[in-house]
């Protein structure tokens, strides 16, 4: 391992100033196509071959709808915890958060905390009850005692909305990243991602998806651990020494940019505290709510709780997932600061104007090269790509199950579809979703799609989360209440996002946003809860009586699992 002495002369590179890079555009900024990176291509090919091998093995085991949606319920809590971590730790969090820390320091940690704190809430309020009540999708749970058609339609609508926005963000990110890392044209990159995710999901269903996510989680955690270890090793395992060096480098960059010594020192030290992340307090709280409660409402995450045999394993899954994800974000924090010390002052990684080669999101990738040379750079690039594949596979499966289980089997066939037909509809849906994702990925190539991930979280926090909490925990809740309230939450979150600065100003080019805050969740989620309560309260229909009468039986099963269909094979 080579140490990189920081030479002050290198700081001259920053003479033209230091444009801040927000994590938001870390995966969406335009990137330049690079020369082919052979170690990365070899590593990635090995990953693809291994996962296709697993898919082939899994394909022989997918015989029923239950195998396809939930791996027959035969995944252990430990495996599921890793798979959840693999489903959740996206390339956006690995590259985006380390890039955010690289640019602004402390602010990246605020994102990390938000991405973590939804997990305990999911465990305390939902996880075990979900497992006891549901079979394949969260709509099984949300519609348990309600009229099927309207609740399923709401659930399918909100699932597809969340999945599509999340998927577009991942596809565009994948295209840019692959163009950059592997030297492949954008369109090819998007096509490769689409084709691979189709293979995994279509043939291997949840079994293959789970193992792709587990392998990816292990690879990503391994790489991130190595990088963080290498960074800390260079500073004698003293975080203070790491931070001090980072501050020194940022101070030097500011001074080289023409700042007076005192100003430069203040600028350098500013990376140790909150900075531009907070524009106004209300946006901060609203964004925090979206991250926290959105996590507990993401359909592809909720679906993972049906892959374990019982509530006890569901509970263990969350503990493992929370542990891995928390560990990962702590590593990301070290990696971000490590990137400041290794990369920010090294001319090898900088453009003449002082910005990062390849764009702001490259901080972690350059750090990999700085500590482990071309081979490790290749490994980390391949891991970043594998990360995207695992996430899009989970999303596609969740979208396909919303169409086949919630719309086809529950609404069209009124619950009387046979397993083989339901499976067939799922399998037709997968390529349709993939083609849609590819086309949208190509259409949005030049767009800034950063808002789409936060939009997906806002939608999940404003629709699925209130609907689940109210239907599970409030006996007075009715069909009309959850459907009206759920739609109000989702539509309001969507409309307010369109009217917010991220779209109204940045995309549509208007001068002033109509909705001034950066996140809608504090309004849309509150509106959803209030609407569910108010509409249920005022609901005097015959259905409402049935809904309320169904609560005690639902509660017994939710709390004890008595009467739950065993999801495992035995």
């Amino acid at each position: 391992m080579s140490r990189f002495p920081v030479t002050r002369t290198a700081l001259i590179l920053a003479a033209l100033g230091w444009p801040a890079v927000a994590a938001a555009d870390a995966l969406t900024g335009q990137t330049e196509q690079q020369a082919a990176n052979w170690p990365a291509i070899l590593m990635f090919s090995a990953f693809v071959l291994a996962t296709l091998g697993i898919t082939r093995w899994a394909a022989g085991r997918v015989r029923s709808a239950s195998d396809f949606y939930t791996a027959g319920g035969g995944i252990t809590g430990f495996q599921n915890g890793l798979a959840i971590a693999g489903d959740y730790m996206s390339a956006a969090s690995f590259l985006g958060i380390s890039a955010q820390i690289f640019a602004d320091g402390y602010d990246g940690l605020i994102y990390s905390t938000g991405f973590l704190v939804g997990w305990p809430i999911l465990l305390f309020l939902l996880a075990e009850r979900l497992r006891n009540l549901g079979r394949y999708t969260f709509a099984d749970v949300a519609s348990f005692r309600f009229a099927q058609t309207p609740v399923r339609l709401f659930a399918a609508f909100s699932t597809l909305a969340v999945v599509l926005f999340y998927l577009i963000a991942q596809m565009v990110g994948a295209g840019q990243l692959i163009k950059l890392l592997f030297g492949l044209p954008y369109t090819y990159a998007v096509l490769i991602v689409g084709a691979l995710m189709t293979c995994y999901v279509l043939f291997g269903g949840m079994i293959a998806t789970t193992w792709v996510q587990i392998i990816k989680a292990v690879m990503l955690l391994g790489c991130a651990s190595f990088m963080a270890f290498a960074v800390l090793w260079n500073f004698g395992f003293s975080p203070e020494a790491l931070f001090a060096k980072a501050v020194e480098i940022k101070t030097g960059i500011a001074a080289a940019g023409g700042a007076a010594p005192e100003e430069a020192a203040a600028k350098g030290l500013s990376i140790m505290g909150p900075g531009g992340f907070i524009k106004d307090p209300l946006s901060a709280i609203s964004f925090g709510m979206a991250l926290m409660f959105g996590t507990a409402g993401l359909p592809h995450i909720l679906m993972r709780f049906f892959t374990v045999p019982d509530a006890k394993e569901a509970r263990k899954s969350v503990l493992w997932a929370t542990g891995w994800i928390g560990y990962f974000y702590i590593l990301t924090f070290i990696i971000g600061f490590g990137a400041i010390t290794f990369v920010a002052s090294n001319p090898d990684y900088l453009m003449p104007d002082g910005t990062l080669k390849g764009g702001g999101n490259m901080a972690a990738i350059h750090l990999a090269s700085a500590i482990g040379g071309d081979i490790f750079l290749g490994i980390v690039s391949a891991v970043a790509f594998a990360t995207i594949l695992a996430v899009v596979a989970g999303l596609t499966l969740s979208g396909a199950s919303a169409v086949s289980h919630d719309i086809y089997a529950s609404v069209v066939k009124k619950g009387a579809a046979n397993s083989a037909d339901e499976l067939k509809v799922s399998r037709y849906t997968v390529p349709v979703l993939a083609i849609l994702a590819i086309l949208l990925g190509i259409a949005f190539e030049k767009q800034n799609v950063a808002f789409m991930v936060s939009l997906a979280f806002a939608l999940a926090a404003s629709g699925n989360f209130p609907v689940l909490v109210m239907s599970l925990l409030w006996d007075g809740c009715t069909t009309r209440g959850v459907v009206v309230g759920g739609f109000v939450g989702v539509v309001l979150a969507l409309v307010l996002t369109i009217l917010s600065p991220a779209i109204w100003v940045a995309v549509l080019g208007h001068a002033e946003p109509i909705f001034p805050y950066s996140s809608p969740t504090i309004f849309s989620m509150t509106a959803a809860f209030l609407t569910i309560w108010l509409v249920s309260f005022a609901d005097k229909s015959g259905r409402a009586t049935v809904d309320r009468a169904g609560y005690p039986a639902q509660r017994v099963r939710a709390e004890t699992g008595i009467g739950a269909a065993g999801a495992s094979d035995h």
Binding site: P120, F144, R145, G273, P274, I278, K414, G550
Partner: protein, 112 residues
Amino acid sequence: MERPGEGQEAEAPAGTHDIEQDERYRRLVTTRSRFGWRLTILMLVIYFGYILLIAFEPHILARQLGDGVTSLGIPLGLGVILAGIALTAIYVRRANKVFDRDLDALRRDYGA
């Protein structure tokens, strides 16, 4: 439209009605849900306390600890992450040790 929910679709579990009257069931559900809500509120207070500090008093987090550059925000931010993991572990531990034992007894008596 007025199709019964999935609960009714599956074979109606024997003794659903009786179990509701069972003192052990009531105690388990009350204790567990109170425990779950307490931990939920604790997590909300920790996280939104942190977010409110960032929103209204960011300089507190930027303040240096001792002579070095490490700010108060570092242990606090990492503390939020560790608190999330710790609360999750506390819940799982109690559920595994206490709630599951009571639940198993109920499941034996009412047939799961």
